[in-house]
Symmetry: D2
Subunit: 150 residues, 4 copies
Amino acid sequence: MAGSVNKVILVGNLGKDPEVRMSQAGAKIVSFTLATSDTWNDRASGERRERTEWHRVVIFNDRLADVAERFLRKGRQVYLEGSLQTRKWTDQGGQERYTTEVVLAAFRGELTLLDSRPDGETGGQYGAAPERRQAAPAYGNTGPVDEISF
Amino acid sequence: MAGSVNKVILVGNLGKDPEVRMSQAGAKIVSFTLATSDTWNDRASGERRERTEWHRVVIFNDRLADVAERFLRKGRQVYLEGSLQTRKWTDQGGQERYTTEVVLAAFRGELTLLDSRPDGETGGQYGAAPERRQAAPAYGNTGPVDEISF
Amino acid sequence: MAGSVNKVILVGNLGKDPEVRMSQAGAKIVSFTLATSDTWNDRASGERRERTEWHRVVIFNDRLADVAERFLRKGRQVYLEGSLQTRKWTDQGGQERYTTEVVLAAFRGELTLLDSRPDGETGGQYGAAPERRQAAPAYGNTGPVDEISF
Amino acid sequence: MAGSVNKVILVGNLGKDPEVRMSQAGAKIVSFTLATSDTWNDRASGERRERTEWHRVVIFNDRLADVAERFLRKGRQVYLEGSLQTRKWTDQGGQERYTTEVVLAAFRGELTLLDSRPDGETGGQYGAAPERRQAAPAYGNTGPVDEISF
DNA sequence: TTTT
DNA sequence: TTTT
């Protein structure tokens, strides 16, 4: 291919504290959902309308995963750059499903905190430490990382 | 929300000629899939690896839908800007499914042709006129447009 | 040219209240400077270093000029998209000079307020109404707008 | 600063072969000018108008400097991401001047070739090897690199 | 599930 | 001239 670009730029707010996991190889993986909101005037009704879009974000970049684990909490506003990736998985009924995620791959992507908070480590509304779980055994895992659930 | 951004920037090649449809309101809607390719060196094996990502693109912007219908053909390289939108639909088994698309909404988005071709309308590898179908009847349609299939 | 893109994306803080002017054609033009900050670890000294970059922003887009006039004030944090434009001017000594600006042209660009303030119109640190001046007579004006000074 | 973003995205064509220099520290620095073209309908005259914008690009990122040296030639179309940087210099008359550049800093930025050419090293319209000069002695240089001229 |  |  003669060169391609796959870039997503989001500014939004986290719906929950990020989830922190380890890959089988021992790398930290941080995931969360990010809300963006689009507002427009409906031309038919003339009403002001709003639509919230939820984005699944997964961070493989070590440095940014550390930043995310330490400073991101539910409600925080963040700027990020990643790329679109759709992965296939099989649901409990054996059906193929697809999920599209915004991925900050190793050595790639950007993450910038936009709202200044007193101290992301300690406090207040944003203070609950994000849950950390061991990676589940990866039976039949074909993706770049063990099953990520939101 | 204190301001949000939902932006996708892609440079890639069309997998097929675009599909042109009409909304119930009579607006032209153009959709296609776009391939981007990511290459990297696998750190474990040291091998050069490549992954092609397929993006579903839907254009509601009238002006850009016209450009897309006239000039985009299978294989053409294009730069575009849109926003991420995930819509819910129900499959034939009654199961809820989600599809994420890159949407160029009314009065929004960008579309730029990157490879110069003699004439998108007439010729060669890119010449087949894109299929145009009437919009299907919209039973139970809740999304912003009648079911879009790729 | 086979398609080109000229896009700037900035998130930063206004150095001063915006300046509002009118073009000869009666269109509102809003301009301001925006600070972005880059921090990095100096590899030689190991020290943490910071560099502030100042960007000249000019808004010709009517809708966004209105938003900027009403809500932007010194210190506010904003996300914007524009394009790079370098214009030539002649200094008092008759020397040719060049100034590069981030331009939000008519019907183009984006502007999103990122920090929520109680009320941009009334208050506090951000409250001073931006200065509004009549456009100066445009003798010898060759650019897209009468001389813009920061 | 509560997080900032300084990003430029360009798709354009090189005006000349790139110039390759070495910093005092022995790092390769590649610079060139890139043309983007904006076309619009003049609302007063109704005429189609076009404006070409020239951007000064400087690459400090080692990996991308290598790619640029090897593959970029006059006329080639490229996608790149960098950040805006304005540096001050003194002209021969002792006057302070400012030049704004699109900088791909160390470990940052993106560069993607968009038009496929048989072989950037050998051939045809794009074939002239880029000039390589030793860095000039850096008397009084205060910027991040010895004087860059286009 | 966020935010205004 | 901003911001942390």
